[in-house]
């Protein structure tokens, strides 16, 4: 790298190499652009390096550990008498998973001939970005720019993060030593997953929800299963908690994220932001300056990697002259509690509020052969459809691999499938996927493996 104020003309400049940024960069490269990707750290962003992936890795290892403690194992004829865990080694394994994935993304970036620049960028004007990195300052003159700079944990103004007593979820995942007690404030999937993770390792966890229920927008039937799962781990839960009430430390605050747009000098180039600081974009991911696009958490939308990745592709295609938009009907949401819970589309009461005539179907995992053979029969599948035409509106699954099963429901909703469509196709037997079949047939009043009402 050349030190000093050198201007490089680039075709597409992507700021931020998280799921939104690196996907946008690869798609733009596939479409024949010369792409420069800028991030201060390794590719993968929050999700891969500090968020979802580390969290899921630790959830897996703690689940394996916790499962050996359960009576079910003895019932299966397995004695696991001297099982123990080593938190630093759990952390090391987690890091090895992260490293492998990061390395994979790095290869993809290089394989697509994308220039990777370490540094932080901000706008000088509507055509130029200055990147300050370890090798000095560099100016990039771009034709198109995609902003994928992500977001930071929002926290609470009365309880600023200090990294020791008040923690971000990311910091909680990197605690060098396991605390004896942990307080978690939040009603999103991250709060629930952190509670589950630490609860499994014997940490005394208290979960405080600011809202009415411990997981906003979740079907009450599935929520009860999650709640009893937390109780089984010895986790105390409290709802409608005012922040002043939480005096114990350390406390992890998961209150959503705020877009990381402060240092970009957006006002200097006329890129508008919305009230939450997110970059205002249209469905084609264009900002108020059309050749500057934005994707993912920095737009202030739902902070989900799945959303960011799709938006990244849309942005790359739009700047290549294609007419595409980000317009999925539904967004699957997965929470790795015990049992795992996954949701897509409307819950029954949401559908009713939206004005649909609603018909529902349910099927307990206790009646599913595969769930029983797995020794994990705690769960339920709930299905919501339009009573007039049977078109699927939503599904909630609680149980093992719910996050993988929900994909089929998402496809069905996007395709406009009806209950009859779901009931007509074949499902491997025995398999967990049969819960979709049975809940659809239950909604149609003819499930085989449970007795229909009335």
């Amino acid at each position: 790298m050349v030190v000093g104020d050198v201007t490089t003309a680039v075709d597409v400049l992507v700021l931020g190499a998280g799921p939104g940024g690196y996907v946008a960069a690869i798609r733009a490269a596939q479409l024949g652009h010369h792409v420069t990707l800028v991030d201060q750290g390794p590719p993968g962003g929050t999700c891969l390096n500090r968020g979802c992936i580390p969290l899921k890795a630790l959830l897996s290892s703690t689940e394996r550990y916790y499962d050996t403690q359960q009576e079910e194992l003895a019932a299966m004829g397995i004695a696991a008498e001297t099982v123990s865990f080593d938190w630093p080694r759990m952390q090391a394994w987690k890091q090895s998973v992260v490293d492998r994935l990061t390395d994979g993304v790095r290869r993809l970036v290089a394989g697509n001939h994308i220039d990777y620049v370490y540094g932080t960028g901000w706008f000088m004007n509507a055509q130029e970005v200055r990147v300050e990195g370890e090798h000095g300052s560099h100016r990039f003159k771009f034709d198109h720019c995609i902003l994928a700079v992500g977001a930071d944990a929002a926290g609470h103004p009365q309880l600023p993060y200090d990294g020791e007593r008040v923690l971000t979820p990311e910091q909680a995942l990197q605690l060098p030593e396991l605390p004896n007690t942990l307080n978690i404030l939040g009603d999103d999937y991250i709060a629930l997953e952190l509670a589950t993770l630490f609860g499994r390792l014997g940490v005394e966890v208290k979960l405080y929800s600011p809202g009415e229920q411990i997981l906003a927008g979740c079907d009450p039937t599935a929520l009860r299963l999650v709640q009893s799962g937390l109780r089984k781990l010895g986790i105390q839960t409290a709802t409608k908690t005012a922040i002043e009430y939480v005096t114990d430390r350390p406390v992890v605050i998961s209150q959503g994220v705020s877009p990381h747009t402060a240092g970009l000098h957006l006002d200097a180039v006329g890129v508008n932001t919305s009230s939450n600081g997110g970059i205002a974009v249209n469905a084609m991911q264009q900002s108020s300056v059309p050749h500057i696009l934005a994707v993912g958490d920095c737009t202030g939308g739902r902070a989900l990697a799945s959303v960011a990745m799709k938006q990244g592709k849309v942005a790359a295609e739009v700047l290549s002259g294609q007419r595409v938009q980000f317009a999925p009907l539904v967004t699957p949401l997965v929470v790795h509690t015990a049992p795992e819970i996954a949701m897509v589309g409307y819950a029954a009461d949401e559908a009713t509020q939206a004005g649909y005539p609603v018909v529902t179907g349910r099927f307990p995992l206790a009646a599913n052969g595969r769930a029983l053979t797995l020794g994990k029969d705690n769960g339920v599948a709930l299905i919501v459809a339009n009573a007039d035409d049977g078109v699927l509106l939503g599904a909630t699954i609680a149980g093992p691999r719910a996050g993988d099963l929900i994909g089929q429901a998402a496809l069905a909703i996007e395709m406009g499938a009806t209950l009859t469509d779901l009931a007509e196709i074949l499902y491997a037997h025995p398999s967990l996927s049969e819960v979709l079949l049975e809940s659809a047939e239950n909604a149609l009043g003819r499930a085989i493996h449970i007795l229909s009402k009335g």
Partner: protein, 442 residues
């Protein structure tokens, strides 16, 4: 009760009709037989009468859209008391509704069905993600697309067809770089993520140099399709001849004042139609058509003569049904009505379809002569030109006679040149000696 009003079978191989204009709005109450919409078929604009008395709850096919036979056009809410009106009365209007069973509103399932919502959710357009993607790419509003399948799902083909029909009107929307309005995506509710971009139409400020493009619609579109089909399917051949029109002029002048006394304007066309009938009986292949599927020649037993007519929107061919059974006066009177109907676009479907042979009076359009295109699926078409005085040679001397040019286009699959020559020769003989009509008069 709800009553779904479907587009009825229009007959004559017509499968679709365009809703030109609704005369009612959602929320209006329509009375039985009240005109509710203007509908354009291949041949005519007709008014649809309401099949029931009831409140209009939904209009499914919007102004300017094309509906296929069987499509639900409009949904009525009828009170139980008036449900006896549910059987549509027969009407002279050709596009009367078939009766459709009122839809059962009861829930399809046994499981919990919750309290009825106060607001009905707008029904989602049933379309797979790939279809929605294509619709956005082509700038098509899915709500406007009529699904071709009975299931109501919009297909890729439906979207493409709609885009093609919309044609150049939406060409501005295809501009990928168009600046769409910036909408904040803050906290989007997933199901409400409707396509929010309305691409800004690029204003082409080069009027005068740009070609003007106008979509092919309405009657013009139908004429174009009909001509294409005829020209593509039928191997056309055209034979020309000239007739001495002297006798015809004399005959018309003799009959005209008497006809006028009876309130009928006698032109050459009724005379030519009457002269044509014995000819078609003598040469039945000219009153026939080819059944392409079965590879059979269909000889028609009825003599419905199409009369090519100009209308403000283009060519129309009103049909003189059973011309062989009408007197000359009846033919003349009927023709007057047909031409008036064509110009006002008020013809009923039987008056514009089902002809077995077509006569085209090019002369009435001001033309000397021309090569006519067969009115598919007929076997031939005869064009007569304007009668003009011409110098012709007869028995070694040049004399001036009123001459009428003829052009006979025929389907060469069915008719050969020799046959067409005989046909024209016999027609010439009849027109030059119209008194021969007396011989076969009933």
């Amino acid at each position: 009760m709800t009553y779904e009003f479907k587009l009825a079978d229009l007959g004559e191989g017509m499968h679709e009709a365009e809703i030109v204009q609704w005369l009612i709005d959602v929320g209006d109450t329509a009375k039985l037989d009240q005109a509710i919409a203007k509908v354009e078929t291949d041949k005519a604009v007709v008014e649809l009468p309401s099949p029931v008395t009831g409140r209009v709850s939904e209009i499914r096919v919007k102004d300017g859209q094309t509906a296929k036979v069987g499509d639900v056009l409009v949904v009525f809410e009828t009170s139980a008391a008036s449900s006896g009106d549910g059987t549509p009365k027969s009407s002279e209007t050709p596009a009367v509704a078939t009766s459709s069973a009122p839809t059962n509103m009861s829930s399809v399932a046994t499981a919990s069905s919750q309290s009825a919502p106060s607001v009905a959710a707008r029904p989602r357009v049933q379309a797979a993600p790939a279809v929605r993607k294509l619709a956005f790419e082509l700038g098509v509003d899915l709500e406007q697309v009529t699904p071709s399948s009975a299931s109501g799902r919009v297909s890729l083909e439906d979207v493409r067809a709609y885009a093609e029909r919309a044609g150049s009107a939406t060409s501005g929307a295809q501009n990928g770089a168009s600046t769409a309005e910036v909408a904040s995506t803050a906290a989007p509710k997933e199901e409400q993520l409707a396509p929010s971009t309305s691409p800004v139409e690029k204003k082409v400020d080069q009027a005068g140099t740009e070609d003007q493009r106008q979509p092919l619609t309405g009657l013009r579109k139908r004429v174009a399709e009909h001509m294409e089909r005829s020209w593509r399917t039928i191997p056309h051949a055209t034979a020309f001849d000239e007739i001495d029109g002297g006798a015809l002029i004399t005959l018309r002048q003799a009959l005209k004042p008497i006809a006028e006394q009876r309130g009928v304007r006698l032109t050459y066309m009724p005379l030519l139609i009457k002269l044509l009938i014995p000819l078609l009986k003598e040469f039945p292949i000219f009153n026939a058509s080819l059944d392409e599927e079965k590879r059979e020649i269909v000889y028609k037993r009825s003599y419905h003569i199409g009369v090519a007519t100009d209308s403000p929107e283009g060519l129309l061919v009103p049909v003189m049904r059973n011309a062989d059974r009408l007197t000359l006066m009846e033919v003349a009177a009927k023709l007057e009505k047909l031409i008036e109907g064509a110009q006002k676009r008020t013809l009923a479907l039987p008056e514009v379809s089902g002809s077995t042979f077509t006569l085209n009076n090019v002369g009435s359009f001001g033309g000397g002569s021309g090569t006519p295109i067969i009115n598919y699926p007929e076997a031939a078409i005869l064009a007569v030109g304007r009668i003009q005085e011409k110098a012709i040679a007869r028995q070694g001397a040049v004399i001036v006679r009123p001459v009428m040019p003829l052009a006979l286009s025929f389907d060469h699959r069915l008719i050969d040149g020799a046959m067409s020559g005989k046909f024209l020769g016999r027609f010439k003989e009849l027109v030059e000696n119209p008194q021969q009509l007396m011989l076969d008069m009933v």
